[in-house]
Symmetry: C2
Subunit: 462 residues, 2 copies
């Protein structure tokens, strides 16, 4: 269909009087007797196009004036520059064809404000509302910004597998993937499910992290990042947990803890700047209607040097304020969101990395510090959220890693290839994980993870 | 770790004599008595750096000269321009530190040529070989090219869900996803698996296509694309099928069949050009060692106007040559790879779209043509492969789509939201699907899908 996209009109506005054909959906229709106004969206940008139509010119004026909102239209008319009006131009219609009707009596979206809860019941329609249209366009632009950042900085995009026979953390609750007929389940002699008859001949799960595979790839490419779906089968009825979500997991060889923090800080600033620059209309919308102060907060983050403080020092700071917290702090306990926010919002007033956590509260693969008590891990805390990124230097010593796994009772045989990375040209390396949806909540001010996922799969079901 | 990346040396070569520190893995070591040569790779580019080291300067000369291949090294030395040599510069080492040894007697990769089959047994190590290093870097660059193409052309990246309760084609074999304890399976009164106790309270599968959700998103954003993992639980023991693979599924509103073909052709050319421009060393390698004639074939495709021929005409052409085929052709049967390759390689000698297939051999959602016999589908055939892309205009008439579903015995209730897209501001729209791995095989000349997937999951297991 020959049409001019509305975004193109805004980007490179034709001369006054140019005849254009635009297609789109009527987001609003106003009928003032013999003259009408349509806010037309073709989805390509957040802005709508004002279409003016007149009874004197259109034989189907009445039909157009009374068609349902979100009917699809094809409009041909003259572009008129309107320097004095709110919008820089409008189209004065010579003809309007109704491509697809949208009967108001059946259409579940109403013109009035609808609750996020109500909109969640219709994931296939809610992207048509302003809020979700803005959220999912920012989702797209932020994803692209992440690819740009890593590709421009020499990282290789490594696709880690989703079907896996291992569990990175040794603990996450996982989804089982099978082609066995559950209504007629083949059994072993011991009465257990017979996975030898399953598709892969063994039990297979959905991945909870691509980190271990990313480490293998980093030993070939130096710097890699994953960006793909990840799964947790946890019945977490919160606003921050989903069963299916997207993660970015960069991994860098010849890199220590400070190197990871440098990259994580640069990535965060790059994505914020890219979204602010490329989605100004969407970000203004969030700033007005979702989270006043959002843009100021993001600008602050994009322009500040992030702080760095050791866990041990942070605990000293927090202990002096223990009266303020629901959970008092002492050395050895994991700090909670309330403590994280206190550190970043009250103490540092900017993002801060907390480094060198007690090894007991962190994962087996993290590099053991010389003090014997802590590991070279660091969480990035940001105002308004708390932890946004977690990462660490990885233990590159075969002996130390093997001893730690033994101490934790992990099955070394299941991780033989991972241990081997330390044996065959192993190097100092570090990496981190970013929950993409948490980053989006941070960028948009949206409070519920179900509202930044186009088709959310959470403990609430779908 | 302070180091200069080898790619940076090639991109912006420092002055002769500049002292640099580089880190990497020894891909080759040659010891000529008191002078040695190392081909050092840090993984950031396909090229290696020649390091020259001398017994007169290094106290650990013997140790370095006899360390195993793929040991990791830190080298500090002077960069020497070598305009007469094969490589434009080398580094003359003042010191070499062995960061991580790689004992030759244990390391499973050998210097001699290893078979692809053998290398498949070690997915975590094979990216260190030239072939796989080149393949997976091209994989990364091609993925980025796809994002660039769509983002620069106003498409929104739409993440379709992987966990799904429906089946796009109504036929694909799917993986079941569950948290039920299969060793102790809860049963209904009828003795069936009790999915009401499963994580989502219902049977859930891994997606075989994000198209239907992409259509919903296109009705809000105009132009969208998915790019994510997809699953088929088919026991296909071929070189072209995987159980887990990545798909790109663009979907465009206000777009007909010709519009889809325009976009698919432009995307294909863009990705080819981008990879040729950004991976010249890798592409030269493939052209020399994997598929002689690869670059010439890709250049031809990037520079030709793709042909377009109707299925009906194509069948007429093929029937005249039926003697050449294993499977003779006649109107109504699906054309096979041998026919596709004959059309694109012998008849057209360039890529060609075959359009308007009999409706019986295509999917229910494709737009029915006025002839009552065919649908507005088109497959893109390319020399050397056959079908690379499949797509269609979608049926936008609620009545025709519902009648087609009834005719095929599909459960309309399961697709109510999909049918509703036709009721609420429906428009002409079209889309297509690209198997990312098939595209990579096409770009690299690699013959087996297991060799373009970093961690392949196929009917052969993993």
């Amino acid at each position: 269909m020959e049409r001019t996209e509305i975004a193109a009109l805004y980007k490179d506005t034709p001369a006054d009087g140019t005849v254009v054909t635009v297609c789109g959906w009527a987001k609003n229709i106003r009928d003032s007797k013999n003259i009408g106004f349509i806010a037309l969206s073709d989805g390509g940008c957040f802005k709508t196009l004002q279409v003016v139509f007149e009874a004197a010119k259109l034989s189907n004026y009445e039909e157009v004036a009374h068609t349902g909102l979100y009917s699809s239209l094809k409009v041909t008319g003259r572009l008129i520059l309107t320097p004095e009006a709110k919008q820089p131009f409008e189209v004065n219609a010579d003809s309007i064809e109704i491509l697809g009707d949208c009967p108001a009596e059946e259409y579940p979206l109403q013109k009035k404000k609808m609750s996020m809860e109500y909109l969640r019941t219709m994931p296939t329609l809610r992207p048509r509302t302003n809020t979700f249209n803005a959220v999912f366009r920012v989702r797209s632009v932020a994803a692209y910004a992440i690819h740009r950042f890593f590709q421009e900085n020499g990282f290789v995009y490594a696709h880690s597998p989703l079907l896996t026979a291992s569990d990175c953390e040794g603990a996450g609750e996982m989804f089982r993937v099978t082609t066995l007929d559950l209504d007629n389940l083949p059994k072993t002699e011991e009465g257990k499910a017979d996975y030898s008859q399953d598709f892969f001949g063994k039990p297979v799960n959905l991945t909870v992290s691509g980190q271990l595979e990313a480490e293998a790839m980093a030993m070939a490419f130096g710097k890699v990042y994953t960006f793909g779906p990840t799964f947790r089968a946890e019945k977490s009825f919160t606003t921050r947990h989903a069963a299916e979500f997207w993660m970015i997991e960069p991994e860098m060889a010849f890199c220590d803890l400070a190197g990871y923090m440098d990259v994580a800080e640069a990535m965060t600033k790059y994505v914020i700047r890219y979204v602010l620059d490329n989605c100004p209309d969407e970000m203004d919308f969030f700033n007005k209607f979702i989270d006043k102060g959002l843009i100021e907060r993001l600008e602050l983050v994009a322009n500040s040097d992030f702080g760095r403080v050791s866990y041990t020092e942070a605990v000293e700071i927090l202990k002096k304020n223990n009266k303020k917290f629901q959970y008092p702090v002492e050395w050895g306990v994991d700090i909670q969101t309330e403590h994280e926010r206190y550190l970043t919002e009250v103490v540092y007033k900017k993002p801060v990395f907390v480094t060198d956590y007690p090894k007991e509260i962190k994962s087996f693969y993290m590099k053991q510090n010389p003090d014997g008590k802590t590991v070279a891990a660091a969480d990035m805390l940001v105002p308004g959220i708390g932890e946004l990124i977690g990462g660490s230097q990885r233990e590159e010593s075969y002996e130390k890693l093997a001893a730690r796994m033994d101490g934790l009772g992990l099955d070394k045989a299941a991780y033989d290839w991972y241990l081997d990375l330390r044996k065959f040209g192993g190097v100092e390396h570090a990496g981190f994980g970013v929950g993409f949806e948490r980053l989006l909540m941070y960028l948009t001010g949206v409070q519920n993870i179900r509202d930044v996922l186009p088709f959310p799969r959470t403990a609430y079901g779908f």
